[in-house]
């Protein structure tokens, strides 16, 4: 973003806080960008000629006589096919040593899709992870986060989902990503030979936190280009949205806004919804699917960040360590994909819903049996069988290292049913039992 020669340079800043600078200037547009020295800032408030700028890089060391130049435009991204395969920072500048992208310059954070122009999301995304495909099927155009504790392998699962989903483009929006995680993504994508369909916008822990605020809009602006103009299936990965919300809180706090619950700005719901609602199934076939990560603190989902997220997204996925098999699984109880009913049985097989429900019910029986065991009660024969079923089900289907097709996962579950239960105990509609119950050999 070059400054232009004729632009007026201001050199007197009136007020500096941790995240903002205010100065007197005229003819400035709302949301406009400015450079304060070499730091990028954005107009967040104008009262008469007093302009307040949010400084993305933080205000440490900014002198009151710093040179301020306004760029006359809101943040933009140059979009074009050459975005593919590239790595950018929060400002959309390349960080991979490659050339600047040529293309149409569009403002980020653009308008919403007219709701009547949307289509009902109804194409399943197959991930091979049966814990997702079977119990929490994902759909193109959906928005869904992982609610995860910081120590869980959510980045690994997300990368896996991204590579297996048959997306035309995968756009990574990394916020407060550790350098190690950033390199992890880079390597995984590289090794999979998928780099040419991946675009990354990354803010690492080394970068100033306020810069993160630009990441989702950058990623989604690129996504809209490919989904709307090229009719592509685009998958956007946003990690970690909790760090994004923290950055929002920093800025609103510096602007003396009255915080609401958990020190979060009162506009948190709208701020998050604006991002997540970019997920869309377009009538032309293009789509944007958002898979995000919201890290929890101490597993508390009533905290304002996961709480507002839950009210916006279409379900959530939980990971859990299953100590019986020493593996991480997709928790079948707390996870929910609210759009799964749009695809199960239609994009998979007609017995899907029944198999899914029966397996979860039996898995719940096993959980009860386990509690009994822990409380020192005797187990019935059914309890024993449920426990054995649960172990295999967990290992062969729920574990995140599983990679099987949709039909295979259903057949496998039938096999487990037959191994441990009678068809009455499983309680599936007769027509399906007749068709799929494994024959004794």
């Amino acid at each position: 973003m070059e400054t232009q020669a004729f632009q007026k340079i201001y050199t007197k800043i009136d007020q500096i806080t941790k995240a903002t600078c205010s100065l007197r200037a005229k003819g400035i547009g709302y949301d406009e960008l400015a450079y304060i020295g070499d730091r990028l800032a954005q107009v967040v408030k104008i009262i008469g000629d007093l302009v307040t700028l949010q400084v993305f890089g933080g205000t440490e060391g900014i002198p009151t006589n710093a040179e301020v130049t306004f760029l006359g435009k809101a943040p933009t991204l140059k979009v074009g096919d050459d975005l593919a395969g590239r790595f950018f920072n929060a400002y959309g500048d390349p960080i991979d040593g490659g050339p600047a992208v040529q293309g149409k310059e569009v403002e980020i954070g653009g308008p919403s899709v007219n709701p009547v122009q949307r289509k009902k999301p109804s194409n399943m995304i197959f991930t091979g992870i049966a814990g997702i495909d079977m119990n929490n099927s994902l759909v193109t155009g959906q928005k869904i986060p992982f609610f995860a504790d910081p120590d869980q392998p959510y980045n690994v699962v997300m990368a896996m989902v991204a590579l297996r989903a048959k997306a035309d483009k995968i756009i990574l929006g990394g916020m407060g990503l550790t350098n190690d995680d950033y390199l992890f993504y880079k390597n995984v994508f590289d090794n999979a030979g998928a780099l040419d369909r991946i675009i990354s916008f990354v803010n690492t822990t080394d970068d100033p936190p306020v810069e993160r605020l630009l990441i989702p809009d950058m990623a989604l602006t690129a996504a809209e280009y490919f989904a709307v103009e090229k009719n592509e299936t685009v998958l956007v990965l946003l990690t970690d949205m909790t760090l994004f919300a923290d950055a929002l809180a920093i800025v609103s706090n510096r602007m003396d806004q009255i915080p609401s619950k958990d020190s979060m700005p009162g506009s948190l719901y709208s701020d998050l919804a604006r991002i997540y609602e970019k997920a869309v199934q377009l009538p032309s076939g293009g789509s944007i699917t958002i898979i995000a990560v919201t890290t929890l603190s101490g597993g508390d989902i009533t905290h304002a960040i996961p709480d507002n997220t839950g009210y916006i997204t279409e379900g959530q996925l939980y990971l859990r360590r299953d100590t019986d098999i020493a593996k991480v699984i997709v928790d079948p109880f707390r996870s929910l994909s609210r759009l799964k009913q749009n695809v199960i049985g239609k994009d998979t097989r007609s017995d899907h819903a029944q198999v899914m429900n029966a397996a979860i019910r039996l898995y719940a029986e096993a959980a009860n049996a386990k509690t009994k065991l822990e409380n020192g009660f005797d187990l019935t024969d059914f309890d024993e069988r449920s426990l054995n079923f649960a172990k295999e089900y967990s290992n062969d289907l729920l574990a995140i290292d599983v990679n099987i097709g949709a039909i295979e996962m259903l057949d496998l579950t039938w096999k487990l049913f037959a191994r441990y239960f009678t068809s009455q105990e499983v309680g599936i509609k007769k027509e399906f039992v007749d068709k799929y119950w494994p024959k004794k050999d």
Binding site: G27, G29, I47, V228, S267, I312
Partner: protein, 587 residues
């Protein structure tokens, strides 16, 4: 008209220096290039008007010119509203052809050129007033009354009235004169400020007619009335939207107004796609024909979200004045309250609890009071039943929106996390929830005459049963299965029968999703008979086994067509296991 210049911008709050008189809630347009952004005055300080802009203010500059309109935010009322998809400002979304919403694009809510077949209802010489029916056109299937505009004050005499025929909404269909002999033309379209209640009715008594919703946990436990108010608070994912959609599909109303207020766009898309296909069993017409949607989803401008519930309510009041039964649903009123909070914060007002504006309770109560059952001047009746979803932060009901709503809404349908987690849908908590209408004498009388003399007593009876069942289950949990008398297990399982068969209802099943009142009565009688019996069991295991089989058959009945062969077969099967069990009939 007054003009002004932009003097300050904080997100969608703009401060305008004005050169003349302006009024609170007046609408103005801010010029930005060739585009005009609509805004509403929300505070006035000397020559400064604080306006909330219904659009993004990106690139707006100090000094931009502003034109005031002299009127508040108005709804356009006339034939053509039914089946439309509007945004919060009543723009017709289907008239916008771009994939993306364009800033400053406002579309006509009605059709200027469409011809309507008008039939006069009033005669020359008749004395009329605001809301009097002059004639009617058929809109889809509703006899849409053409009324004397609500803004007309006092009495008028009809001088001319058009003959039956085809007219556009702008053609004069009547000419009236006031006391001073001043004549005015009336067309089929009128405007009304959305934040002001339409009061063109004679009386607003306490509502008393039951509104059938087809949802058993409402009708059979906490019934709502035509013109009643209710709300459904619940944590995310507990089924507020599914319940609202079920109500919009099955409730007995002439017209449904759905205000999708700050929630997901995909949920509105579901209505757009389903309703034109789904049939209303009562009329045989498509559901969309009786539905109007106000979609201001969470990603659409927040000030327009605030306006959306008022726009929806004004449309409801307009149709109520035609003598219709309206059901209005809003999902979610918490998002509306949050829109108020965002603006209040930007104006740096002294905040109340959780940073909501101090006057939030008053705003909510004012809004709910616009619902109700009315007698129109001509003796006809009309009603607006309003049910709002509430999304309490952290699922905690001790928060300002829930508490303020609880003070005004008469039915409380609390969605419980625990019930949702155990997939007991709809997750309405049967013990915490209530309907105040059960205390209304008028309502009791209505039920006695129109539903059954036992209905109210039955409701009290099963409520008590549920409480006792809950107590029993707590005791069992504390003392263990064999630490309590068998009687406790029986008591618990009786309440489970009611829970599984009446309360739980599959919103996605073709038959179970809606139960007409006749069928509810039928099932209720069976269940009460089962519950009132005495049972002998040898062990607690037998209790659960027996009642599980009873529940299983009753559920099969729920899934079968009422009184079909299949249904009757299950009924017989039920009788069989009921009689097989050695029971002592109650004295």
């Amino acid at each position: 008209m007054t003009k002004g210049l932009v003097a300050g911008i904080i997100s969608n709050l703009v401060i305008v220096e004005v050169d003349g008189p302006v009024s609170q809630n007046e609408i103005c347009y801010i010029k930005i290039g060739d585009t005009k952004l609509m805004a509403e005055i929300i505070k006035i300080m000397g020559s400064k008007a604080y306006v909330q802009v219904f659009e993004s203010t990106r690139n707006l500059r100090i000094g931009a010119s502003v034109e005031f309109t002299g009127h508040m935010l108005e709804a356009t009322l006339g034939p053509g509203i039914l089946s439309k998809n509007f945004d919060g400002l009543q723009n017709d979304l289907d008239k916008m052809k771009d994939v993306f919403l364009k800033r400053g694009e406002y579309t006509n809510p009605l059709e200027d050129d469409k011809l309507w077949h008008f039939k006069p209802l009033a005669k020359v010489g008749e004395l009329v007033e605001a809301g009097s029916w002059l004639g009617e056109v058929t809109e889809n299937w509703i006899p849409h009354k053409i009324m004397v505009p609500f803004k007309f004050e006092g009495k008028y005499t009809i001088k001319e009235i058009s003959a039956e025929g085809q007219y556009t909404i702008h053609d004069p269909i009547a000419k009236v004169v006031d006391n001073n002999g001043k004549a005015q033309n009336i067309t089929m379209v009128q405007k009304w400020p959305v934040k002001v209640a339409i009061r063109a009715y004679k009386a607003k008594p306490r509502p008393f007619r039951m509104m059938e919703t087809g949802i058993r946990c409402i009708d059979s436990l906490n019934p709502i009335v035509e013109g009643g108010t209710g709300f459904t608070p619940g944590p995310f994912g507990t089924g507020k939207t599914v319940l609202q959609h079920a109500l919009s599909k099955h409730a007995e109303a002439d017209m449904i107004i759905v205000a999708a207020c700050g929630e997901r766009a995909n949920e509105v898309v579901e209505i757009f796609t389903e309703f034109p296909e789904l049939e209303d069993p009562r009329t045989g017409r498509k559901l969309m024909e009786r539905t109007t949607i106000i979609a201001n989803t969470s990603n659409m401008p927040v000030a327009a979200r605030e306006a959306s519930v008022y726009t929806a309510m004004t449309i409801a009041e307009y149709y109520r004045s035609m003598g219709l039964k309206i059901l209005m649903l809003a999902d979610s009123t918490s998002r509306w309250a949050q829109a108020l909070r965002e603006m209040s914060n930007r104006m740096e007002e002294l905040p109340g609890q959780d940073a909501y504006p101090m006057d939030l309770p008053a705003i909510i109560s004012n809004f709910y009071s616009r619902a109700g059952f009315v007698y129109l001047p001509n003796g006809a009746t009309g009603s607006i039943t309003f049910i709002g979803a509430v999304s309490p932060a952290g699922g905690n009901l001790k928060e300002p929106v829930t508490e303020s709503t609880k003070k005004v809404a008469r039915c409380f349908y609390a969605l419980s996390q625990q019930r949702a987690d155990s997939k007991r849908y709809p997750a309405v908590d049967p013990i915490d929830s209530y309907s105040k209408y059960l205390e209304y004498d008028e309502f009791i009388e209505y039920i006695n005459e129109n539903v059954s003399k036992q209905w109210i007593d039955q409701i009290h009876y099963v409520r008590n049963l549920l409480i006792r069942g809950k107590e029993a289950s707590e005791q069992i949990n504390i003392l263990g299965d064999d630490g309590v008398p068998i009687e406790y297990h029986i008591r618990y399982w009786k309440s489970e029968v009611f829970d599984y068969v009446i309360l739980q209802q599959d919103a996605f099943d073709k038959i179970d999703s809606s139960t007409p009142i006749g069928r509810q009565k039928f099932m209720m009688e069976i269940i009460i008979r089962i519950i009132k019996r005495d049972y002998d069991f040898d062990s607690f295991e037998d209790v659960s086994k027996y009642f599980r089989s009873v529940i299983n058959i009753l559920k099969q009945m729920n899934y079968s067509e009422f009184k079909s062969d299949e249904f009757i077969k299950f009924e017989a099967e039920l009788e069989e296991i009921l009689t097989k069990r050695k029971v002592a009939e109650p004295a």
